[in-house]
Symmetry: C2
């Protein structure tokens, strides 16, 4: 069977698991390592798809949970799928919605990408992932072996996802790469529950895969990635990777971690369990220093809300570290956000102007800062790719991180 | 003396006062009639100057009151003037801040451009222009013959503008075209007060002009327009036009009306009092039907906040009239906002997608709708210009307005 998405490794780094490759999709290629823009509701916040080329965006990842709730997967399907809906010709992915079903809404996990909640209570069989959300919206996610029942973060209405239903939704959304439906556990979950959830995730992975392969139409144009789970337990993560590796997925996502410390240290070991010839996507990690760790551990694609979330609050990436555009010293600074940046914002606008826009709470402030941040991360992965191809990844990492203050 | 801004009339309409011309400024030409984009705080809200070319924007008008308060005119001057500050190479104007000083803040006049307040109380010598603003911010504008003392809408701090100070600020802001400092009276003002205010405005016009001409540097690179006042009284408006016409202004603004009904009916008479060879700018009027009235009455340039203000609340212009993108019928509509539009939004995005963005309260919604609206109005004035040049303005007006539901 000719797969809709293929992966070619062009070059392997000699000192790490890093590789440079090309993911070929029905909507074009992704040169890896690559940063995939998060377009949860089929929009990268203030950044329209008309700006993607300028920002070097190669692909987007939308979310099945959000698009199922609004506008509904049928509307997106009617428009010709998520890419056409948002007027983006290039490669697309959809996350299965597992994380969102369990985390219940976007108010969750604001600090570090989507992996920030800590010490959230969990009772057997009933995961309440965010006290605030649960209180303000009365939200719950009730897991059983068949699937999960949950309430909408928008209006509290009751819904149910199963692996089969998630596939049906993702088939309607029509992205080039879709993800298996997984259970995302609380960071407070103990090892016993985590193992139980992981095993359920593996059963759901098989059911997702079967539901996808049975749909010949979708199977011919959409690839499916399995998601490695196991929370913060190394042995479970390795077991999860090992078991999923046996399945007929087109690639793998590594996700469901609520703290990047849980996952970054064992990423290399996890990736060693996964088939080398298949692409690997690290969900929700986007700090520059973490992208270096991920790339060296053999990650091919990354996604994260950081560029737009940071951008909206004025935090911008520069080659010397992050800073906030509201700082008084920028009021009269006629330089660009980052002297080393090639983005249209840095070519055109001064810190003085962007500072004024943030101080005046002007809408354009977030647009410009987000656009810069997005380009900063797509360019970082472009540079990592070039460094791999030129056999100087560790030198480039040293050079970049030497000047970058975390 | 070679003036920094000149105006050439290329063609006069035979049936009306309409004319097509070119305003030449140190930063390029404005082909008239033209719609000038409002960039109050040196930003057209969600629309960056990087999008201006696509939207057919020929010039912007910023505001001396707002830029004086934040970031301060010195900061804009340090950046090289308002155009450079906002990274816009083309022609620029600054309004003197008269209207804003008296209307006290942007919460004012939300309904129709900046000319919507009605029946606002005024006591002798103390104009309190907006009950809400006055109550919530404790704001006042106290007029004397020398100038006006007022409190900031941002923090209530006390400030004072005189014609000379307004010129000084506008010289620092450095726009190609600046406006004389005027007193903008309450729509509830009686004829006696209105006449007194008009006469003061004329004295201020002479002082503005003198202060501008004395500054040789600014005088060589900035043109100055006088502002016709007179409120809703036809005799005062005509007297104002007649008296200002005698002064050595480079052009004229017609402003200070709080209801477009006050001004549109007498616009032709007002313009007949003004020198034919000088350009005329109508402040704060932007509805398509009013642009036709203005153009036929001999107006060369228009400005209005409508495209972005409407855009942010989902109201879009189409060739059949205005509509709101949140209407349910658009949920599955795969057509563009306006089938007759040539803007990048209409080329790329569907009503279905834009409807989804508005329903989801996504930032991109307002950006796309504002961009479309801006192009709709710049194109309308382009079409009016072409119609004048081709001797078919009245036919074009009939054709456009015949299909356009107000």
């Amino acid at each position: 069977m000719k797969r809709p998405v293929s992966f070619d490794i062009e070059k392997r780094d000699e000192k790490s698991l890093a590789r440079a490759g090309t993911i070929s999709t029905p909507h074009g290629d992704i040169r890896t390592p690559a940063f995939i823009a998060v377009a949860t509701k089929a929009t990268t916040k203030g950044l329209g798809s008309f700006m993607y080329e300028d920002m070097g965006i190669q692909g987007i990842i939308a979310n099945a949970y959000h698009l199922y709730l609004t506008p509904g997967e049928k509307i997106v399907e009617h428009a010709g799928g998520v890419g056409k809906f948002m007027a983006w010709d290039g490669p697309t992915m959809t996350d299965s919605g597992g994380f969102q079903v369990f985390s219940l809404g976007e108010g969750f996990g604001k600090v570090v990408s989507k992996i920030s909640i800590e010490d959230v209570p969990r009772e057997a069989g009933v995961a309440v992932y965010d006290e605030d959300v649960a209180t303000s919206h009365g939200k719950l996610a009730i897991v059983d072996d068949e699937g999960v029942s949950f309430t909408s973060h928008i209006n509290g209405s009751l819904h149910r996802f199963t692996p089969e239903r998630s596939m049906e939704i993702q088939h309607a959304l029509g992205a080039d790469i879709i993800f298996a439906f997984d259970e995302c556990t609380s960071p407070a979950a103990d090892c016993v529950y985590q193992k139980e959830a992981m095993e359920r995730t593996h059963r759901w992975a098989k059911r997702s895969l079967a539901a996808h392969r049975q749909n010949i139409g979708a199977n011919m144009r959409q690839a499916i990635y399995g998601i490695v789970q196991g929370g913060r337990y190394e042995d479970l993560r390795l077991q999860s990777a090992h078991e999923l590796a046996e399945l007929d997925f087109d690639g793998f996502g590594i996700g469901g971690s609520f703290s990047k410390q849980d996952i970054l240290g064992i990423l290399e070991k996890v990736n060693r369990e996964l088939p080398e010839q298949k692409p690997r996507h690290l969900l929700g990690i986007g700090e520059p220093e973490d992208i270096f760790i991920g790339a060296a551990a053999g990650i091919d694609t990354f996604d994260c809300v950081l560029p737009t979330r940071n951008g909206r609050n004025g935090t911008v990436f520069t080659h010397t570290g992050k800073t906030n555009m509201e700082r008084s010293e920028y009021a009269t600074d006629l330089g660009p956000i980052d002297t080393a940046c090639d983005c249209f914002v840095c070519k055109k606008y001064t810190k003085s102007y962007i500072h004024h826009l943030f101080r005046s709470k002007e809408m354009l402030a977030g647009v410009l800062a987000s656009a810069h941040n997005m380009r900063f991360l797509t360019r970082l992965t472009e540079n990592i790719r070039t460094a791999i191809l030129e056999d100087r990844l560790s030198e480039y990492a040293r050079e970049f991180l030497g000047g970058y203050k975390k």
